[in-house]
Symmetry: none
Subunit: 242 residues, 2 copies
């Protein structure tokens, strides 16, 4: 079931707006705010949310953590600092995969910018989510944290597949053989190998790396056409000599 | 190997700063900028990067895409819009897992805020990365895109799976650029395209499938040598005509 996003005592309106955008990007819609520092509504949040203002407009405001979470069944608290608690600790992917298959009302909870969630708030949650970061620079902006967790939500809830173009059918081996006899003839005629005994290995290497691109029939034909263009210009010149 | 992050024609300094923060959060450090709109250094980028200013200070600026990618071996272009190209399309997790086990110099490339990468820039890349988003609100801020891709990088690089190493290092992009200017010159001279307005798309397709084989430096050199052999024979004949 789609999780609710709860921001606890958020400070900057622009972060709330950026969170709304990230939610819309990754297909979430219900936002709850616990005691936003600068009051509500917040003009800066509306401005930054551009394109996701419906989420800002529908956001519900609560006076405290307990009220905001009262109708929820599973709470996932994001926290950067390790907490000394006997609490399940999950990666974003694990948590969102669990939420995606859960029939319970779940909330993803993010603390204030400077301090993060209070210990009691983490203790009141069912699991902790920690985003893996560099050990040297671990402080993620709140909107960035929401981006990562919501991205994992979309990835794990919908199993998105890229809409990749149907690949063009590969050239057949007889078409490759056609290319190779054409090319072999050209190269013999220009004395490409210089030393006859080197030809077998050089020719094998050349064929190997040409084939590696997995060309389609059309691409192989284009390549042959290109070779022919280079060659016929030559033929024209030879005819001119006669 | 750790990827380089390349921002192509970034517009807002604050986005560049936010990108630097995200890189530091997820353990990346080399940032390159192609023609930043507001010049460089950028005060706003420095301010927003707080805690990651070492990345901003070490960022290198290039005048164009080719210069910024010349010493790279594999380019991953992030793009929201589907492009009509025969190009591998990857999810962030797939791409970063591939990079984590690669012994090549890889770059993750992000386009300008409003327009994204140009078609030629995507065409010059080895693979496309698309971040899965809501079909109703897919426009991700550039810094958010970098957060998602760098997060996947850290996630997939710290627990890399075993793969077979590439036997030979891939050709660098400057070597590919060398091949392409040589070939372009030849094809123009033999009037390969016949119709001028068809050249851009034909040339793009040709580059795309030539690149697809992931040639090593040696293989690319062999291919150039083969083209030169075909060509110089031609030159000899032209000289004979004189």
């Amino acid at each position: 079931m789609k999780p609710v996003i709860i921001l606890v005592r958020p400070q900057l309106g622009e972060n709330i707006g950026a969170v709304a955008r990230a939610m819309a990007n990754f297909d979430l819609s219900e936002l709850r705010l616990v005691a936003p520092r600068d009051g509500w509504p917040n003009q800066r949040a509306i401005e930054v949310s551009s394109g996701a203002s419906h989420i800002i407009e529908a956001a519900k405001v609560y006076s405290d953590f307990a009220a905001a979470t009262a109708d929820m069944e599973l709470l996932y608290a994001t926290t950067a600092r390790p907490r000394d608690m006997e609490k399940r600790a999950l990666m974003p992917a694990e948590a969102t995969a669990e939420i995606a298959t859960s029939s319970n009302c779940c909330a993803l909870i993010f603390g204030p910018e400077r301090t993060g969630l209070e210990n009691e708030e983490v203790a009141a949650s069912d699991a902790i989510i920690t985003i893996p970061t560099s050990s040297e620079f671990s402080s993620l902006n709140i909107a960035q944290s929401v981006v990562v967790v919501c991205y994992e939500w979309l990835k794990n809830s919908t199993n998105p597949k890229l809409t990749v173009k149907e690949p063009a059918p590969l050239a057949s081996k007889s078409e490759w053989q056609g290319l190779f006899s054409q090319l072999e003839e050209y190269l013999d005629e220009v004395n490409y190998y210089r030393v006859e005994h080197k030809k077998p290995i050089m020719w094998q290497n050349l064929q190997t790396f040409l084939m590696r691109g997995g060309w389609s029939e059309q691409e192989l034909r284009t390549f042959r056409g290109m070779l022919r263009s280079l060659w016929e210009r030559d033929r024209k010149n030879r005819e001119a000599i006669k």
